[in-house]
Each structure stands twice: as C-alpha cells, then as structure tokens.
Symmetry: D4
Subunit: 252 residues, 8 copies
C-alpha cells in the first residue's frame, strides 16, 4: 500500500466516499491471506517486486498442503524451495501444473519471468557435491528472469580449470560462488573479477568443517572486496540477490 493509495483513501474520506470506520478497516486489513497457521503475503509482489516463496524445510506435508490449498486457485505463481519429492507430490495433487526442479529442490507453479536483458549471472561451484545448492541459486535466478550460466566443479585444488572459463568469468555481470570445505574459491574469484560476487557457503565437507562453518567464516573474511555472503546452503537467497542486482540499470 503505497503513498498514492493512502492519498486516494484520504481523499475519499474527505469527500465522504469512504467512511471513517471503513478507512480504519482498510488501513488495518492489509492484503494477505490468513490461513491460521500461515499468512500468505499476497502484498509481497507489490511491495518487494517478487511474490512470497514457501520454504518447505521445517514444515510438515500437512502444513504445505494447507498453505497451497489456501491460496486462491487463480494464483498464477507459486514457488517453493528446499522441497523434497513428498512435498512435490502433495502440491502436484492440488496444482496439476506444478513443475519440480529436482536437483534444485524447487517447485514452480506458473511461468518464469521474461528476461529483459542478456546480462548473465554466472553460478560456480567448487565441487560436485555443491551442485544442489548451486542449482537452487541458478533456478531461482532463471525463474526471476535472468540468463544464467553454470560452471561446476572448478575448485581450488585444480585452479587451472578456471582458465578455460576465463571469458565466462570476465563476461559475467554477477557471479555466485557456491563452495563447501574451505570455501577458498570465493576468494580467488573475488580477486580476479570486477563484477559483484555473492558467496554461498555449503555444508559440504566433514570433520572441522563443522556443517559449513569453515566455509562461512572463510567467505566472511574474504580479503578481496566486492564479495558478500549469505547463509550456509542458502542458494535461494543468493539467486534472489543476484537477480536483484542483475536487473539494476534496467528500465523498469
């Protein structure tokens, strides 16, 4: 609900078109769908430029079903992340047009946004085990209307694998680096390129990796400026942020 809408509302109050109590009610009941346990922020798209996304992890299948069922059947766009196959099957039964990106663990009802430019987000992984989180980032960015390139498994232990991809590195508009273990790939990329770099630590590794802590601390301490970090395994957050900045400078 932006300034103009409030202005109109106030005008209507002035002219008597809207009663005072009605105005109060409107101000109170901002647009969201209340499902009891969950409130769908249908206002999100307007306010933040992208609809609310359902994080499946930590929710029971029952809860996910109630949320999707609770949405109006003509809701054109539903996206769910960290969704396993059971979550997909549950949603599929309600919305037959649901699609499952298995490696990314993303469920999509509706269409990807249209690309406005050919500026590219490049998603890199250090290893093969980091691919699911990278896919979460890549698919998110694609859904949000971006060109995405992927280069997987170019980790530090064979850094020459980077060189064959140097053009892609230098040509990217935004880079997402997904790495577990010691997360050093973020530092190397951060030191080479000019574009913004978003680091995603993953929980890939063992021992003193401590479920991604090693990569997280490494990335936070990255001595190359131009890099930022998101939560461990937060591919969605990285893809979302990458999309935000990849769209910057576009006429809206």
């Amino acid at each position: 609900m932006d300034k103009e809408e409030i202005k109109t509302l106030l005008k209507n109050v002035k002219t008597g078109k809207t009663g005072i109590d009605d105005a109060l009610r409107v101000l109170r009941s901002l647009p969201y769908v209340d499902l009891g346990e969950a409130k769908i922020d249908t206002h999100r798209d307007l306010r933040r430029g992208f609809p609310e996304v359902i994080l499946c992890q930590g929710k029971s299948i029952e809860q996910i079903k109630r949320i999707v069922s609770g949405l109006s059947p003509d809701t054109k766009f539903i996206m769910a992340t960290k969704a396993d196959k059971a979550a997909f099957r549950a949603i599929k039964r309600i919305r037959a047009d649901a699609v499952y990106y298995e490696r990314a663990k993303i469920i999509l009802v509706g269409k990807k946004r249209r690309k406005k430019s050919d500026k590219t987000i490049l998603v890199l992984t250090a290893g093969t085990s980091d691919v699911p989180i990278a896919e979460e980032a890549a698919v998110t960015a694609e859904i949000m209307g971006n060109s995405v390139e992927r280069i997987y498994d170019i980790g530090v232990a064979g850094v020459h694998r980077l060189f064959g991809n140097k053009d892609k590195l230098l040509g990217a508009n935004v880079i997402v680096v997904v790495a577990g273990m010691e997360g050093a790939l973020a530092s190397i990329i951060g030191g080479l390129v000019q574009c913004p770099v978003i680091s995603v630590p993953t929980s890939v590794g063992y021992g003193a990796n401590f479920e991604g802590l090693a990569a997280l601390l490494s990335m936070l301490n990255c001595c190359a400026p131009g890099t930022v970090t998101v939560n461990i395994d937060n591919g969605f957050g990285a893809g979302y942020f990458a999309s935000l900045i990849n769209h910057m400078g576009e006429e809206e």
Copy 2:
C-alpha cells in the same frame, strides 16, 4: 510445608501430642511419591502453585509408564510435555481420560484450570514452522487458566501482517513471541508494546542458525527493554511464565 504448619507441629510437640521422633520423621518425609527412578513431587502444587509436569523427551516409554502408573489413581491432574503419540498411547492405557493436544505435543489428564479474568496472553509466531512450539506455550497457558489468543506466521519479512492485528497486540496483557531463524520478531514486538514480552527461540532454520543459536542470541541481545528469553524450543516454560504474570494482581 509452610510456617504455620511448622508452628502447629512445634505446638504439638510442646503439648506432647506429637513425639519428638515423630516430629523428626514428619520434617524429614516431605510429601513426594518415590517410584525409585522417579520421585513425583506431589508437594509442588502447594509450594509452587502448579503440579509437577512430566517432560517426556529423554524418557523411555517404560519410564513414562512407571511414572504414571506410580501415581495414585485418584490423582486428578497429570500433564506431560514433548510427548509423541507413543507416549500418549502408553498413558491412555493407564488413564483412559487422557487427552492429547497433538500440535502442542501435550498430554492432559484432568481439567484445565478455571479462568479468573479475561486478560489475554497473545502468542505470536514468525513462521509456520514455529507453530508446534507456540502451541506448546498456548496450550500450557490455557491449561493454567488463561485466555489465549494466537496470531501465527507474521514474521519480519512481511511486517505489515502485524498491522491488521494491532488491536490484539496493544490489547494483550502478556505476549509470547515464538521465532526461529534470526528471531527478529521479538525485537519488533518488544519495541512496539508496553506489556511484558517473553521470547521463545526455536530451532527452526538451517545453516548458520545452528539449531536455534542464532535466534537465541538475537533475543538475548534484544535492545528493547521489557523482553526476556527462555530456552530454545521451550514453549512450556514460556506458557508457564506467561501464566504466572498474567495472574498477577488477581486476588488469590
């Protein structure tokens, strides 16, 4: 055993009504039921205003059964928390009048306490995944004789969802905020309302959430005075404390 009882005892000793050795025995054997592995604190209601509650988590089904069986069949009130269905089935076989609050994971034998006032405890959650812990708090408070309102899933990412509920927020006598991830809802509520706020961090989240540590530290560092914190996932403790202060000022 309060001062008056001791006084009476001493009087009886003086008048010879009670022998010295008997007095000693009374002083020693405070009222609890000894079941070997467990001692039921039957004195708790007298001393603390509410009977002992069985925490099922960490106990074997065998242990839970022994405890419930060990109680006199005319024990009117038994409450058990963090109880799964197996625990419920086990208790149900001993006490047919047992009721199971499934979302709250609470088992109740006996009646809820009678409400003495219409002062309300408001239980909020940031997300849908926090609901089970919120229910543990809400049901506990209801059992202890309080009016409870619930508003679930009004988390920080869509803070406008709070506004439609502003009357409830301002009308509450005590607020319980249940939140995982970064736990920021506690700070926002704490900065808006005048009544006491009890924050319950949950283990909902992933990565650098570290099983609720992020929400816990966030809530402990809350810069809005008027908020306190309980253990991660301790819905029962929050509901109990909320009840304690909601009953303050009532004639007893």
Copy 3:
C-alpha cells in the same frame, strides 16, 4: 500515536480542518529529536510507558555529550546506564541536577517514579562480585517506582544463608537472581518460590566460565518453570522487566 489520535486526524481531514498533505506529514513525522548520530525517541514514554534510556557502553564521551545537550533543557527525566565516572562528569556539566549511582553505574536526571504499591521486587546475588549488576537491576526498578529488597552473597556453596531470608523470599512479588560462575542459584530459587523469577547471568568467574556463558546456559536450561533469562550482565533489562510485571494488576 494511538487509534484515537488517528481517528481525530481522519475526522479533521473530513471536516477540512486538516489538509491532506498535512495529514500525511503528521503521519510521517512521529515525535523524536534528530541529533544526526542519535535520534532521541521522545515518543517512547507514550508508547512504551517509560522514556528511552541511554546505554553509555560503546559510546564515546563526545557522543554522550551530544545526546544530552541535544535534548531540550526542560526534559525532565534522563537515565543513562553502564556509565563510568567520566560519563557522569560530562553529563553533570550539562545537567547540574544529575545524580550518579556508582555501584549501579546509573546516572539519573530527574525524579524516581512514585511507588503505587508496596509489592516488593527482591534482588538476590550469588556472590559479592555480582553486586554491581544487581545494583543496576535494583536501582532501575527503584527509579521505575518499585519497592526493592536486596539480599546479596547467598550463593549455592552456603545455601543455608537462604533460610534466614525465607520470609523475604516467600514475601516477594518478583525475584531477580543475579549470578555468575555456574548460576545455580537461579535453579534453587526457581524451585522454591511461587512468584516469577528473572535470572541475570553475570560474567563473574574465570576459565570455563567463558565470560558468562556457563551461567547463561545454566539459567536457560533451568528445570524449574517460572524462570526466564536476560542477557549476560543485563541488570537494567532485568530491573525493567521486573518493574513491568510488579506493576501488573495495579490500576493505571
């Protein structure tokens, strides 16, 4: 700015008494004093029932001076916490009526609130080293218009020291337990009394105390319901919360 004020505003818009743009401005410019680096929340008293308090720790003397100077000279009430002598001297030069509670490290300009009842907040410490934080809690509660009793150094290693004070324990309306090291006093008090207990872990101790972590975890895991916890060394927060609930049930 509560519902009634908005209603009045809307009425004035309707009757033309207030122009639309003026109404917008009012809604926007909520009352606070903007000092650049600091914004004094002069609206706090109205909204939350107590004015904003200056946390001196982490602020330079220059910043503290700018904040106090920036306040209107007829501001009747200023409170500052975790203030060392240098902070006091700086404020004293601006506001000659400033008073310093040295053990509590609290500076007060203006009067304590009037007590409305004789319900007592009891502040306990486990040891002598915990006294400064306890005083922070006690003085805060006194300033907020409460009767405060203190019992210091009754720690667990000589638990019989509690017994001579049993009447005070049972007579208190709210108890604040301040303890460092293993923080076990909170559990013992929590198991004995019926009233709400607020635990304040302190950073007193050494070695595996880890700057108060031991006491904090101990208090958070307290198995006696009816206890809640605030941040390590947060005497102010405990005193504030204790005051909030001590005033409950009072007619306002």
Copy 4:
C-alpha cells in the same frame, strides 16, 4: 613390571642365569595380547589395580567379537561398557557366563570384587532421564567392590526431595551426582556435604543444553570446593574414580 622385578632380572643377568639378549627381550615384551586391531592390556590389573575395560561405543560388533575371542578362554574377568544388546549377544555366544546390566549398558564376565568395607558410594540423579548414566556409575562401582546407594530424581526443581534423604547424604563416603539440563544439583550437593563429590554431566536436555555442554560448564564452574567433573555421560569414569577413593585408607 616393578623395581623388584627389574632388580631380579639384573641379578640374573649378573649371575649369567639370564642372557643379555633374553633380558632385552623381556624388557621389550611387556605383557599384552596383540590382536592386530586391538591390544589387550593384560598388564593393566597389575599396574593400575583393575583390568582393562572394553568401551563398545564406536566399535563394530566384529571388532568387539575379535577382542573377546582373542582373550584366553581362562581370562576370569571381562567388563564392557556402553554396550547395546547386539554387543551383549555377540559376547554371550563366546562367553556363556556373560551377564548384561541393561540399564547400565554394562556386560560382565566374571565376579564382582569382594567388598572390603561398608563405606558407601551414593549415586544421585537430578532426573529420571539421567538414570542410565547413573547406573553405569553405580554398577561400575559395585563391580569394583563397593557398597552403592542410589537416590534418583531429586532434582533442583523439587529440592525438598533431598531432605528425606539427608541421612544418606551425610552418611555417604563419596557422592556421584549425575545431572543433565543445568546441572545445578552438583552445586547444591557440593555446598551441603563434607565428602568428595564427583559430578557427571549428562546430555539430557534440549535447546541451549547443546548435548550436555550446559551441564558440563555449570559443573566445572561449581563454586563449592570439593567437587570435580568427568566427561559428559561418562558414568564409568565417575564410578571408577569413586571406587578408587572409596577404597583409600583400606589396608591393601
């Protein structure tokens, strides 16, 4: 191999009874049974007063079987800890005289040591969930020839449960306190009694308990002198140490 044995050996070398190379070999081949993956320290009883004990946790059933099979069939005494039923069944097939203490998860082949005195080790738990670790301590101490008393579930939230057991507390020669959650029972007992107290933190609890860390830190920071701590869930270590000091002062 003590001083006297070396002296004898040297005498035999001097008199020619033992050749130099033989002497070297004896000095080299101290008594243990080499099973490849495991070396049974058959010398342990001589050197440390009690035979080596098999910690089953972390060993495969295959490894446990190889160790027990590898021992000479006339080994009179075998003790295994943290043993599940599968481990017991495996050992039982090799040594039919094996006995399983289920709650304690201890397997015993052979006889308990004879008691030399009636000095008592008292094993306490704060809660019912702490019983398995307490049993590990108690059964260990019984096997090592001690009188053991148990009082279970006398935790801090109902501290009066201690009083009916005051005679046992004051009569004990050594006390083992087993507690999870905040571990405060150790501090209370430590402040009351004169005899040595051994604290065993357990991993019982949830949330900010962090798998026993809260209880461990609490016990390490215990402000009552006369208490020491062992590893989380190390009932065996506590029972062993309790036995060591309970036997002190006995003629050997």
Copy 5:
C-alpha cells in the same frame, strides 16, 4: 593484463618485434611494486576497477610507512582503512596531501571519484555506537563516486523512527544496514524495501553478543530475501560492494 594485450604481445613475437625471452619476462613480471614485506598491487585498478586499499589494522606504523614510501611519489590515489591518528600522522609526513576522515578512520590521498549518477546509497545504523562502521561504509562509497545518504540511530526499539524516513528508504538504490546487538534492523529493512540490502554486523553490544556474533548470525539467517552480509565491522567491504552495484547499469 587482458586478452588484447596478450594478442599484441604474441603479434610482436611473431613479427620479431619482441624476442621470446623478452615476452617471457613480460608475462612473468606482472605489474606490482615489490617492497619486500609488502607488494603493492598496481594492477588492481585495471583488473578490478579500483586500486588496492591499505588495511592499517594489524600493521605496525613502520610497515605502513614503508608501504606508502615505497609507492612512486606520483601515485595519484592512496586509500587506507581502519587507520588511527598515529597512522595518519605517519602518512601525512610522507604525503602532505593526505586527508583523514576521523569518524570513518579512513585516510585518503587524492581525489574522490566523480559521481556518474544521482542514484543513492542509503547507510543506516541501528544505534549511535554503530556510527564509526557506518561512516567507514559511507566514506568508502563517496570516495568511489556515489551519492550517499545517512540515517543513524533508527534502531528496532523505536521502529517508528523509520517512518519519517520512509521516502529515503523507498528512494534508495542500495541500502547498507549497520547494526550491533541483535542486528534485527536488517530484517526489518529487508522486509520493507525492494532494493538490495547489505547488512554489516558490528561488535557493538555486550554479554551474549560475543563480539558481534549475535548480530552476524541474525543477519545471516535473515528471512527476508534480498539481503546479504559482510564480516563483522567490515564497513569498507559493505561500502565497496554497495558502490559496485550502485554503478551497475551505468555506461562505463
């Protein structure tokens, strides 16, 4: 050294203009100034779009002096961060044109970059104590050629202070949120705006803040997408990244 330069070099080798050994030497000696203990990356501007910056923290005054002295006197641009007054005095003696941004602890030799657009970076702080780190971010962004707006001390405990600044919030192209304690401001801003948000946790706070850990974890777990995080107290990194994305879409 980019592709075109290599091509030219190879052409020169082909035509004999450059000898093979010379080509090798060029390829080897990439442009940096070697000062023994330090190597000034004079190639940085070309490669990454901005010259190397000297982090003074952790370096001795001697080291800082050697680095600045080692640079050619016609180096037009030198920037140093986390510099105290002693560092400034040392540099000032070598480069008389050095300027000190005291609150930001930044030293600048040379001119700020020219602004190419009026897109604004908005820097917010939760409290007054967070200002030094916010200034580090703001001054960095200004030096890099950006319009910067500042709103300080609008923390969560008085969230209405945000509203008078709503236009600035919604008008910003990039937002940097600087907050210590529980860092919740990042979540609130993240939930309100559409533009990218960069969170900077600070070490402001005490107790269970653990030197900024609470704010860091809070920000990493931020449930509002569109926010990323940098290291605790890394104002420079945030300002640098904000500048990178604020310049996106500009013709270069």
Copy 6:
C-alpha cells in the same frame, strides 16, 4: 546444624525451656555474618570441614577490605585466593599477621592445619608457565594439612623427565596434574599410576588453545580411568579436592 542439635532444640521446646518463637528464630538464623554485600559463611567449617575462602578475583579492593574488616578480630583463620599484591597490602593493614604466598597468589591469616599422616599429594606441571596454578594447588593442600611434593616442567615433549621421578609418582597417594597447551600429561600420568589423578587445565598456550579450552577438552576426554577434572586455572579446587581424598581413611 545437625540432627542432634535439632533434637535438643525440640526437647527444649517440649520442656518449655525454649519458646516456640525462639525456636523458630534459631531455625531461621543459621550462623553467618552479614556484611550486606557479602555474607561470611561462619558455619562452613562445621558443615564442610573447612572455613569459607575468599576468591579475590572479580572483587574490588574495597569489597575485600569490607569482608576482612567485617570478620570478628578473633577470627583465627582467613584464606584468600587469586589475590594480587594490592589485595595483600589491603588485608595486611587489617590483619598484620597475614602472609602472602606470592607464586600461589594466596593470602593466609592463621596457621596451616596440622598434618595427620605422611601420605603425599604430588603436584606435577607440564611446563614452567603452569607453575602459578600448581602452586595454588600445592599451597592450598599444605594449608589443609597435607604433605605435598612438587615436580615441575616434566611435560610430554620430554617424557623421559618422568622416569627419574618414577618413585615419587608411584609413591604418591594423590596426584594433581597441572597442564596447559594440549594437556596430554594428564593422560600419560593417568595411564601409569594407580592412585587418583586430578587434572587442572591451565590457560597457558596460544592460538587454538582458546584460553585453556584445548587442555580442558583433552583432560575431560582422557581415556585412562581414574582421572577427574576441575575448571581451567582452578588450582585451589584441585588442591582442596586432593586434600579431601588424601585425608580419607584417617581417623577423624
């Protein structure tokens, strides 16, 4: 106050020698000296066999002075630990007979207890830097009436230094091992001797020692049974416990 005293009191109540109110008062006022900020547990010697000891660390000089001044001038025994020279000078002015054990940082007013036996407590350190904590243990044990032997700097890196001291090792009745860094000495001693071993981790070390955490964890995980652990740098606690068990078996 033991059973017999209560019996006498009750008898006196019965015979009317003691009034009921008087009896209540006696039961309430257990013997301690109340100095406001501090309560001296004068009952400690009776109850626990040794008077209360003043931990100077964390107390201001003013507090220490108030405590010592508050004690009756005919208090025969005062012991203070972790006392620096300023604390000593302050106490010396009040009690001219105070003695300072500088390496141990212990102040003693009064006499050491008489030795009842020649059983020896052996105090070992891994390194020279561990000596102050070792002295704290050794002097505590000497004050409590024990024969103490010291062997310092026999750390693991030169384990043969143990052998020349083998007789002392095998002859000791109790061993205290004081070690920082990796704390491995405790494991080695624990594996060699038959007597109880008390491990004291120290904060000696750097880097991943994390202020004694490495040694603490190492000692807690000691795989040799017969060893227990106290808090990091808690020499007093180790000396006290060592004394307790060294006196076991003595006729009292």
Copy 7:
C-alpha cells in the same frame, strides 16, 4: 604446462607453425574432462604428481557413476575415498577391475605405484575404533608406493604397549598418529621420535569430545615440535602427505 612448453608454443607462433588464435586456444584449454557437474582434472598427475581422487562422501551414487562413466575407458588409475559399499557396487559395474579396501573405504581401479625404497611409513592408532581412518591413511600410502607398517591400539592408557614396538617407532621414516578422544598419543610419539609426525584427529569418542574437536585442538597444541595436523577423520590427507615426504630424497 611448464615453461618449456610455453617456450615451444611461442617459438611455433614466431615461426608461424601455430596461429595466434590457436595459441590462445591452447593456453585456454588446459587438459581436463568436463562432465558438467564434475570436471576431472586429468592434468593433476602431471602437475602435482598424483591423479585426482574422488571423495565419495557428499556425492550421490548418481554423481559418482556419472564421474566414473565420464572418464575414458582406458583411464588406467581411479581412486575413490570414503566410499561405502553402494558406491563400490556402482563403480564395479562400470569398471570390473575395481577393488574395494573395505576397512579403509577406498576403491581402486588400477595398480598401486611401485615402491622405490624401503623407507617405512608407520601408522599408529590410539584405539581400535580409530582403525578405519588409519586404514584410509595406510592404504593411500601403499597405493602411492610406500612401505607401510601398522601398530594399532597402543593408546595412552596403556603406554607400555609402545615399548615392545620401540624399534618400529625409531626405525620409521614418517609416522602417522591416528587418535580420537583426547588425542594425547600424538604428543607422546612427537616427544619420542626424530622423524616427522602427522597427527590425524578422529571423531571417535563421546560427550565433550564434540565430534573430534577435543582431539583436534589437542593435536594442534602439541608442545612437541615436529608434528603437524590434518582435518578430523582425514586419513587420506595424512597418507598422501606422508607419502610425499617419504619419497623426498629419492631420485625422481
């Protein structure tokens, strides 16, 4: 691609044998096999002296299969670590000559390297549970062409078990110490021998072992110089490094 190859390439460019664009392409396309999700570093052997090894942990069976299938069928050497039986069966179906070292969890396709010397790597474990990680180290070293001796279960609690193996200890060229719990064996070996010692902490243990943290910190703080540490449970890394230094001094 070393200096000589570049020289040749440049010569060919000069003589026109190689076109400029071709030269560029060669420089870009360093030899690796790109399988999309994985890139096999076929250049590794040349560059680092040993081919890339597949870490199975964290990879799905599908991913492992794709990697092995993607390799040319005449790849002579494939090694995979932390491989369970399912991984082995999957690889076996593709490469029938695959061999499984079950205790070591290593899969090998191809031949072990030929030993060049009889210098021995000695692999020790503290306990039986450490054997799998020790085998990972030992088998790795054997595959890389080393003589390996094993002595298992000679932990600290029975340190005399070392002596019968003194010759092996002193005769070894490199020692790998594998230990969980408190990891003290590394310190003891480190203090006895002259050769380099590589410590491998394992996650064997429970409670305050914290998944290997205790052993890791212990080994990092080892006060005996001549020891280094690898990640918890990283047997492969230890075996690899041991092989590297065991081959030093060999003519290549």
Copy 8:
C-alpha cells in the same frame, strides 16, 4: 639412551664393572638439568635431533632468567621464541653473545647449523601483517641449517602476484604458507605445487576471524592434498617441521 647404551650397561653389570644399584641409578637419572620450576631437556638433541627451545610467551622474565642462568655457561646453543625485547635484554645480560631476530621475536645464543644442501624452504605470506609469524618460521628453519626464500604479501586478492614468483614456487622443496583472514592462500598454493605445503594460520584479521579460527578451519579443510596445518601463529612449529622434511634424504 639407545639400545646400544643399554647393552653396554648390561654388559658392565654382567662383568661387575657396574654395580646393580649404580645401573639402576643410571637408568633412572636420564640427562636433564633440574631447575625446580623448569627442567632443561639436555637429552633432547640426542633423542630428537635438536635441542629444547624456550617458549617465552607465558613465562615471567624471572622464570626466563632462571632458566638461562641455570644452564651450564658452556651450553653452546640456546634458542628462545616469542621473546619480546625485555626477554632479550634479560638473556643478553647473562649471555652476552645472544642475538635478537626482532621481526621473528627469536633469541639465539650460538651458531646456526651448517647447511647440508641447497634445497630450499619457501616461506610465503598472504599479507604484510603475517610477516612476524613468517619470520618466526623462516629464522627457525635457517637456524636449523636450511636455505630459506621468502615471498611476502602475495595474498589471494591479487593472485597474479604469485606468477612472477612461479619459478620459486615450483623450485621449492618445501613451502610454508602463512596467512590470516580467510587463509585461502594455502589452498591455492596447495593446488599448484607438488612439494609438501605446511599451512600456518595467523590471528591476523578482525570480526568473524575469531582470533585466527577462520584461517585455521579453512586450512584444515583444504581440499588440495599435500597440505598440513599447525597451530595458529605457530611459526616455530612450521619452520621446525619444514626443516625436518627438508633434510630428509640427506645422508646423516
């Protein structure tokens, strides 16, 4: 004391040349100098190939003086690490021939060992602030008779600085990588070279660096085999280990 010496001793016992008690004494009194608080391991050179080194950090000046004074004046070689100027002045007064390596904080009395080969240890740092720890490693290695090359400040943010030094990298026999912050340099070097790499994390950095923890975890998780790690800031340990393996293959 090796096997041959024991043999000779036994022979002498046999022939009567040495009495049994004398033999015992010899076996007991292994060679070290006992200074009470410190025991100088004069046997270290024989046993481990290098004399004991004095770690000054954590020792008082008095202790250091006592140790150096306690050594026989004809001790030819004394080395002390982490020594500040005060320590140097104290030692200089006792041993006028003492030399101070200020950057390395190493004191040396006596001569560096003679180099036996020209195999080089290469010491790298990521930044300028890491130089002191690098010097500790480099000077240690030089004292132990090695050729040492240094390349400082070639950190990840300007990785091209490595290339001009590629020959040195490939020519080194052992590489020591010293890095703070995110420690990624170790991974890059580890992925490029064939020789063993020893990583030294430093405490250089701020915020989520947590005193070197970030670099330590990063290095432990290094995915390039052929690298090992020592304690944070342990330059000496790295230099010592580098020397050990650099001398391998030399005839002794």
